[in-house]
């Protein structure tokens, strides 16, 4: 499984398909990463988000380095999902800036669609397209955006489905799959664009408990393959296991951050301690 993943990653690096500035920046970042330096993938500065009178994010500063796996935890309504959705511009910040591989998302000149091609997102409710087969779901973006020939795109879809263990489901409709299977297809779909970063928005929250394991297994293998990832999650055990860093948000601010050992082993702030005592 990991071999296939690494192959996908190296394909991204070797790819001569897209020579946009963004791709070059991603490549530079990843090369510097391999040389032992750490390149910055995502930079968030003083991010505020208001809905009417309600301020959901009250000044977030954070930096994600290439190759990092970051879990964002915290109580409901803390703004975790909003923060994640700001990273691929599904939400527009009220103020502050989000920079993805050097591209400022609030800059009107930035092509948001181009940035999104490199930022995969997995949603709580999968958001698969019911009017297409599983394979078609995965092929859509490469076919539309990279003009990948049909046969190649289909082969890529089969490869990705093999990674998530659903190769035999290529030609069925998503609605014929279980929740866990649908979420694995959604992950495969996001990977089809060879993203540099993957965002997971409570990817297992809508699943039956017996389905959670398979999905986490796929995410874990991605982490082990070196994918830069940000996870909003309620799976504390999993966050502790796969994360390189854990961020605890509460009431729109980052309350505490650190290694999994620090956050789960020696929590400092009273709010984090009270949160952990409730969920663990």
């Amino acid at each position: 499984m990991n071999q296939t993943l690494n192959r996908t990653k190296s394909e991204l690096e070797d790819s001569a398909m897209d020579t946009s500035r963004l791709t070059q920046r991603i490549r530079q970042t990843q090369q510097s990463d391999e040389q032992g330096q750490t390149g910055v993938a995502i930079m968030i500065k003083d991010l505020h988000k208001r809905y009417g009178d309600t301020e959901v994010l009250k000044g977030i500063d954070m930096e994600v380095k290439s190759g990092e796996v970051i879990s964002i935890i915290g109580p409901s309504g803390a703004g975790k999902s909003t923060l994640l959705r700001c990273i691929n511009a599904l939400e527009r910040p009220s103020s502050g800036s989000v920079t993805v591989y050097g591209m400022d998302l609030s800059d009107p000149k930035t092509n948001i669609d181009k940035v999104r091609e490199h930022v995969g997102m997995v949603f709580q409710h999968f958001n698969l397209f019911p009017n297409m087969s599983v394979a078609e779901n995965i092929m859509l973006a490469p076919r539309m955006l990279h003009k990948t020939p049909k046969e190649d795109a289909y082969q890529q879809a089969l490869d990705l489905l093999e990674i998530v263990g659903l190769k035999e489901k290529a030609d069925v409709r998503p609605t014929d799959l279980s929740g866990g299977q649908q979420q694995r297809v959604a992950i495969a779909r996001a990977l089809a664009m060879n993203p540099a970063v993957m965002l997971f928005d409570e990817a297992t929250s809508a699943l039956d408990p017996e389905m959670v394991g398979d999905v986490l297994e796929v995410i874990r293998s991605l982490a082990e393959g070196g994918m830069t990832m940000i996870l909003v999650t309620h799976e504390m055990g999993f966050a502790r296991e796969v994360s390189s860093r854990v961020i605890f948000t509460d009431a729109g601010v980052i309350e505490e951050e650190g290694t999994p050992e620090q956050i789960f082993g020696t929590p400092q702030s009273p709010r984090l301690r009270s949160f952990l005592s409730k969920v663990l």
């Binding site: 691929n88 599904l90 669609d113 181009k114 940035v115 999104r116 091609e117 490199h118 930022v119 995969g120 997102m121 949603f123 409710h125 999968f126 958001n127 698969l128 397209f129 019911p130 009017n131 297409m132 087969s133 394979a135 078609e136 092929m139 859509l140 973006a141 076919r143 539309m144 955006l145 049909k150 046969e151 289909y154 089969l158 290529a170 030609d171 959604a186 779909r189 996001a190 089809a192 664009m193």
Partner: protein
């Protein structure tokens, strides 16, 4: 092994166009079917009969239906006093005529614009008209007359009308006469649009008497419309044939000569008698034989099928335009662009907030005066229906798009697809599936609404029915047939559309 599924890959919005094409093929197929029945039934178009051996051809414009002066007989042939008269005179005088059945106003327009040489359409000679046209000698002395139900023995004259309701035709001489005398005899005047409606009112007891143009009334009685006259006719205007002032004087002279000959040799009186019966007729013994219901069906079937064909054709035309409007403006309506969104919103508000009939009259009668150019009845009809239905389709499309889960758009956009791509490949195919039953519903509504176009004289199904019972006065039976035809056509259409829906939208 994976070749087959690949074929089906990314159907996207192609399925929509395929679906519409199939639905259209269906409508047109039905129209063609109705058309075949027409052609096998009887020739629907009047043919120009020219039996003259020499001389000029005159283009004669006339009304569509003004029985007994011009109307279509059961075979679809244009007949009547005017038609018989002009043909006979043409024969004796040795010229040819080319009849254009246009409707009264259109006939006059054709004359003014020299598309026609003369108008014969039961046209009263008035001082005003003499300013613009030259008339032949009067060929018919008209007037108004009162009629009552055949079995009514109580009303013997105007004085018996106290407290009664008298039906008249809007804008007619009869109406003017009835209103002039209403207070004198103590009756109430009720104006309606059609002769056949007035007669039905009297027969059903909703009115006690009718005052109408004497020839129209006399003809109705010969056709067994169930009425009788008890008072003498009131002398009114005289009818003449009009030409443009100072033009076609040779035609006027020939007509006058031919008319004089007919009056002398008795053919003129014979002609009048053929359509009007004897004076003071009670209707007894008239309508020599009354057709059985099935005879009536057989007789009116060709005309009704022609009407059905027109109904289906205009519905198909209007449906294509309406669907285009619905999809384009529906997308505008949900567009983040405020201007587009408001354009769509205003369009919907205007066309949903106004009756179909208003637009029918506006496009057919109003717009030509604004742009100074005639608008074909097909265009006016199709515009009316499509703009009205389009407004509802905009709302159907908007509702369908908005009912697609927002996660679908987010899912597509998160992959880097543009809004346009996401709409086309992800949102619209799902919206179409959601909207299909409502779209079929709208199609059925449109098909039924097309009957409103009879108001501007479009030859659709109900219009043809009116033409039929204007001539034979079998109102109830004809309407029953029309109801059955609509019902069968719509049931068939919905049934087939639903099968298509299941096939194409799985």
């Amino acid at each position: 092994m994976h070749v087959m599924p690949l074929r089906k890959v990314l159907g996207g919005t192609q399925s929509l166009s395929r679906w519409v094409a199939a639905l259209l093929a269906l409508l047109l197929g039905m129209a063609a079917l109705a058309g075949t029945v027409v052609t096998t039934g009887a020739p629907a178009q009047a043919s120009t009969i020219s039996r003259a051996v020499k001389g000029k051809t005159f283009r004669i414009a006339t009304d569509t239906t003004f029985a007994p002066f011009e109307f279509r007989d059961t075979t679809g042939e244009l007949v009547g006093i005017d038609m018989d008269l002009i043909q006979q005179i043409a024969k004796t005088e040795g010229f040819k005529v080319e009849i254009q059945s246009l409707g009264f106003n259109a006939a006059l327009q054709a004359l003014t614009s020299k598309q026609a040489d003369a108008v014969i359409a039961g046209m009263t000679i008035t001082e005003d008209r003499k300013q613009v046209y030259d008339f032949t000698d009067p060929y018919f002395d008209s007037g108004v007359q009162m009629a009552i139900a055949k079995d009514n023995e109580e009303i013997k004259g105007y004085k018996d009308l106290k407290g009664a309701i008298v039906a008249v035709k809007t804008g007619s001489e009869g109406e003017a006469f009835a209103k002039r005398n209403a207070s004198k005899y103590g009756y109430t005047v009720k104006a309606v649009d059609q002769s056949s409606t007035m007669y039905e009112m009297v027969k059903s007891g909703n009115a006690q008497a009718v005052i109408d143009d004497y020839p129209v009334l006399a003809y109705g009685i010969t056709q067994g419309n169930g009425l009788k006259t008890v008072t003498a006719k009131v002398r009114g205007g005289s009818y003449g044939v009009a030409v443009n002032k100072g033009q076609n004087q040779d035609f006027v002279a020939a007509f006058n000569e031919g008319l004089a000959k007919m009056k002398t040799d008795g053919t003129y009186n014979k002609l009048l008698k053929k359509y009007l019966g004897g004076q003071g007729t009670t209707g007894k013994g008239a309508a020599a034989h009354k057709l059985s219901f099935f005879g009536l069906v057989r007789q009116s079937f060709p005309a009704l099928m022609l009407g059905l064909k027109n109904t289906l054709l205009i519905t198909a035309m209007a449906f294509v335009i309406a669907l285009l409007i619905g999809i384009i403006l529906g997308l505008w309506r949900v567009s983040p662009n405020r201007i587009l969104s408001w354009v769509a919103r205003i369009y919907v508000a205007i066309f949903r907030g106004t009756p179909v009939l208003v637009w029918a009259f506006f496009f057919y009668l109003g717009v030509p005066q604004l742009i100074g150019h005639k608008i074909s009845i097909w265009l006016a009809g199709a515009l009316t229906l499509s703009l009205n239905s389009g407004a509802y389709l905009v709302e159907i499309v908007r509702g369908a798009i908005q009912s697609v889960d927002t996660g679908q758009m987010e899912g597509a956009r998160s992959l880097g697809l543009t809004r346009r791509m996401a709409l086309r490949r992800v949102i619209l195919p799902q919206a179409v599936r959601i909207a299909t039953p409502s779209i079929i519903n709208q199609l059925v509504i449109m098909l039924k609404d097309s009957s409103l176009l009879l108001a501007i004289g479009f030859g659709e199904l109900l219009y043809q029915a009116q033409q039929i019972y204007a001539a034979n006065f079998r109102v109830t039976e004809t309407l029953f047939m029309v109801g059955v035809i609509y019902f069968v056509a719509i049931t068939l259409l919905t049934w087939l559309a639903n099968i298509l829906d299941k096939r194409m939208n799985r």
